[in-house]
Subunit: 177 residues, 4 copies
């Protein structure tokens, strides 16, 4: 937090998950992501994703349909690789490292399903002081008692969004790590 | 360039340079940066910077005063470290590596003055296929004949902006490296 | 795997964990790390760490005392920040991003205790196709059935090392992701 | 430099340049790189490269033939992508960002020929406080008077190595940026 006090800016919420979900849950994960994007936009939040397909595209589509803003943090060097619902593409050229930017640029992180890349983003989010809400995703628990950012396992899209917005508001008070 | 053809999106132009310019030229460099930001905004371009002070702040201030959009790609994890004229802060947590994102997320790059960090950004821009316009900055010349992105030494702010916009348009045709 | 077949090189095993462990388990974690380093060196493995204190230093000390080789992948730009038991310091200048290099440069990863940074390394290891052995560390489980790299919860230092060496050998057969 | 004084470790010298040199100068560049690697090894230096072909392979081959040590900082995730003369492969998974590690892990940097990637490494080296020796490579000059690390244009392989070793020794006194 700078000396001049908090900015009057909207919360940035990352939605992370599989770029090509398959299996029996794929359809449900995409529906959830789209609903989450829509609810975030209606609450005035900016939706940040990795800019590609699957969960990223569904969340962005939901946000844009509700009149919201979307940022896509792309792994490659071509902004036109972004899906059609990314309003502000950021081509990073970072490859795998772009995952760090997705979570650090956000005030809180939502994980919908996801594989190993999503787990790495959950870990990076916590490392950077961002709390995480999961929906049908990873369970992560330490053998030790740790303070700092939190992980909440949500039961549906509304629960996801209300907790994520609360986590984002708390981060603005607590400041960065 | 994706199969569905070029996006109808504004050009993104990076303005790079010293975060704390000093010496006899400092005042002139900041005036140039502000004028460049203003001219870019009037031409409909989005101004991308590293989000901090000096040349980055001056270019952003010029753009905002002319009604334009500004993105700040920050090295740290706190979006509130951005200067007051950044409309879309991207806190990366990348440290030095954020310089790669500043240039890769842009269609062309403008260097105003600058020290070693600016030289590294010029090199990274060319490496990522982005052409560069310099004003009172570095001269870089290869002992060998090379194709690809170009470096133009401009004489004033108007020359900077007109060449940068041309370079950006050419990149959209040529596609990424 | 290149066309010319597997190299005759020793396995590289990363040991990750807290740089400043505290709490009731701290002493035991450091003892484990030192024993693991020693066992790895006696098995002919190269011990890779983040090069700083705590678990990183204990594992390196154990390896060097047993006549082994140690590599330290440092976050900063000064190789002299490495602990005294790092034989090959790699100063990266990458900050947080150096965690990716620690796990990618290794054939398998061992996590001893650890906080959020360690969780991010476990996630990055799996993302990069490296299997992980944990000892008194994080439990990570997906809600979905996933193939690929594995996580093994070990019960003591000997179990850690024997499984990690097996994981490393399997990676060389399977090749990179 | 840590409080306990300088380490007794050999200088690490990076040799950077084109991975696939072509054109009329290609043969000469590779001969220079091999001779430089050989001279560095005889002087007790460790040769650091990006681990792939062309200038990187030639410098590593020269060093190994003279009984020296070589480190290869690879862009990908597979250590077996290293050329046959890399004794310590570091697979980073960083893509373009690995260039930062090549120069930061070294005490001084030698550029032999090279295209845009080499220019970005020269810029990153100076940014990280490493001085650079060039041979038939880029000329970089600032319009402003700058202190800090230096660039020396050498005339042959012996001049390259003697100046690079001097730059490396000066860095150890001066410490990191």
């Amino acid at each position: 937090m700078s000396e001049r006090g908090p900015r009057l800016r909207p919360p940035y919420i990352a939605v992370i998950g599989d770029g090509e979900p398959h299996g029996p849950d794929a359809h449900r994960l995409l529906e959830w992501a789209e609903e989450i994007g829509s609810l975030l936009a209606r609450a005035g939040a900016v939706v940040v994703t990795g800019g590609l397909g699957g969960v990223m595209e569904a969340a962005s589509r939901g946000a844009v349909a509700a009149g919201g803003q979307t940022i896509g943090i792309l792994p490659g060097a071509d902004p036109d690789e972004a899906n059609d619902y990314v309003r502000t593409p950021i081509a990073t050229g970072l490859g795998v490292v772009r995952n760090l930017v997705v979570v650090t640029s956000s005030d809180a992180v939502i994980a919908v399903g996801g594989r190993h890349g999503t787990l790495s983003e959950i870990g990076l989010a916590l490392r950077m002081g961002r709390s995480v809400v999961t929906l049908s995703s990873w369970r992560v628990e330490s053998d030790h008692r740790l303070g700092g950012p939190r992980v909440h396992r949500a039961r549906d899209a509304r629960d996801v969004v209300s907790v994520a917005l609360r986590f984002a508001a708390e981060r603005e008070v607590a400041g960065p790590p």
